[in-house]
Symmetry: C3
Subunit: 257 residues, 3 copies
């Protein structure tokens, strides 16, 4: 038996919205400690990993491990029934054929229930090795989103370079060549801060198409963390306050073309 | 001779906008008592009925009955010339070949005139029988619109069920099954109120496609009234303050498929 | 050597945005006195003319005349990298192969640089004769934009008529016929003013398609000036405060069809 209630249901709405363009069908892993999922995007280039701790829920109970196969597109449609102020409760029986989703809104005595059909998905769980990242950059999510979006109209690939003083996003293409450089910066307001933790400079190229897809998650966290290592995939990390973390993994492009 | 002036012209703009996706060409009936129209949608499933009382107009004069055949699409284009703060005057001669529409805006000395060409439309007037409805539900228009819109992404059909305690909108489809339940509710704020007047419970199925089309009219009234009778078409009613009422009639679906 | 810095970079963004749908490749003329460009639209019906005075720049230096051939579409993409609060610096070497564009934002220590590739464009410079216009009409840009936009759904052509008392925009088509008349008007607020300077009444027809394209520039100026002469093309003028002027020239349509 599984049951989890989140008073701020809007967070779950945003999470589903963030990943629905990247993954289609996905196994949600329920454990006594929390909810997690891991899935490759359809072209098997990027990996999404979500972890929600049981402690972030108002109420959480999972008697044993369970796997719930879900169509994210369908889940997203159901989530749209929720108001941003609704509390959301998820539940399932042990031999579940559906995931029960309940939205409650005290304000106008509205209760929405949905039994989402579950599906069977073959999937392997990838072990993600623990990595000491050489450079970790924390940027305002909206600012970082805007940079990736506008650079994509100029080039398919971005070169991300870190130094102790700045992080640089550079493009080169038909139109010309250019870069956006963000300096270490305490900012006047915390929201504008860019924080660089660089033990080793890194310079790698990534497909902007994927970075832009990841940035759908900008709405769940004010800050985006980029974790870089010259020999490892990039991790783009969105902290979900009091609840967990959403991570995207993306392998670097080897050559420019 | 017909002439009618409405100081709050924006209301007329919204009415035309509400019906322009449902009906194409329509006869507008002018009488000494007011303006009315009645039209089937192009697939002959739904009926639109509008009644505007002469008392709601700043100035109203109609010497005798007249029928003005109008392309609603064209009327909507002309209405777009009006500012929301414009007063609107409609007029026509007895043997009218066009409807004269004048928009006036004192603020910036702008006057817009348009002579809309009239057309000849064959149409029969349906007599709508007076019905004692078994259930009448009054819901905040925006909330009801949102429910219909989101349910449509999950199913083509909605089952509407009333009881003395709640009204329920249920769907069933490939994705799963679910329902939105709204309880009788005085609400903290009047805008959130759901009012149920149920003398006899009703349960009927309707095509969400049509309910969604009707909801274009949500902008003309804060509340939507659903009038239900087990043996009768649904009436979706939007009161137009001090001026009249816009009603949509929709026959229930007999079987689920 | 050329270098020009504009602290309010947003103005340059808006100018590029205003003209990018009308002209494709264009020669930008740099002189010690300022920046200018002149270009026909792709169908050779309308002419765009931009003049920016060196005095409007925070810093301006041009040792001699230069011609910079630029793809406006690409320039627009680069401009999107700028925040509205960024300062913009343009620079080029004498034998330039690219235009260097730098955006600076003190707030969060972001610096964006782009080297836009230049192109070679054959173009002739048209001499625009000085004209004493018979009628000059100054209208609120948003109001004038709205009029042109809505009339376009009713007709392809608008008849513009000036008298000492009003300016009239008239259309005639399948839907019917009508007009918007704006009277000389001091307005309650300056923004609503319509100012007529009519030494000779003018009545000419213009293609609304072009007037609507010009109105992209409404964002750079609160007022649009229409300069009319019965024997001359229309000039639609947008003043750019402290910096210069953007003008569009459009020949009248001779017959109604």
């Amino acid at each position: 038996m599984f049951e989890a209630k989140l008073s701020e249901g809007v967070i779950l709405k945003k999470i589903v919205d963030s990943i629905k363009d990247i993954v289609t069908d996905v196994n949600i892993d329920i454990s006594p400690n929390g909810i997690s999922l891991q899935a490759m995007d359809s072209s098997h280039v990027a990996l999404v990993s979500l972890n929600l701790s049981m402690e972030g829920f108002e109420h959480y109970r999972a008697d044993s491990n369970m796997v719930l196969g879900v169509s994210i597109a369908n889940l997203a449609k159901v989530m749209k029934l929720a108001d941003n102020s609704d509390a959301i409760t998820l539940s399932a029986d042990q031999d579940a054929t559906h995931l029960k989703i309940v939205f409650e809104n005290a304000k106008n005595e509205r209760t929405t229930e949905f039994n989402l059909n579950l599906i069977t998905i073959d999937s392997e769980h990838l072990a993600i090795p623990e990595t000491e990242y050489q450079s970790v950059v924390t940027i305002n999510s909206n600012e970082y989103s805007k940079i990736c979006k506008e650079l994509f109209s100029l080039s398919e690939t971005v070169q991300v370079t870190t130094t102790p003083d700045y992080v640089m996003f550079a493009v080169e293409g038909e139109v010309g060549s250019g870069s956006v450089k963000l300096g270490q910066n305490e900012g006047n307001q915390q929201a504008d801060q860019t924080v660089l933790e660089v033990t080793e400079p890194v310079s790698q190229q990534f497909a902007l198409r994927y970075l832009n897809m990841f940035n759908k998650a900008a709405s769940i966290s004010n800050f985006t963390r980029l974790c870089l290592h010259q020999e490892q995939p990039l991790v783009v990390e969105f902290k979900i306050e009091n609840l967990g973390v959403l991570k995207y993994f993306l392998a670097p492009k080897i050559s420019d073309e």
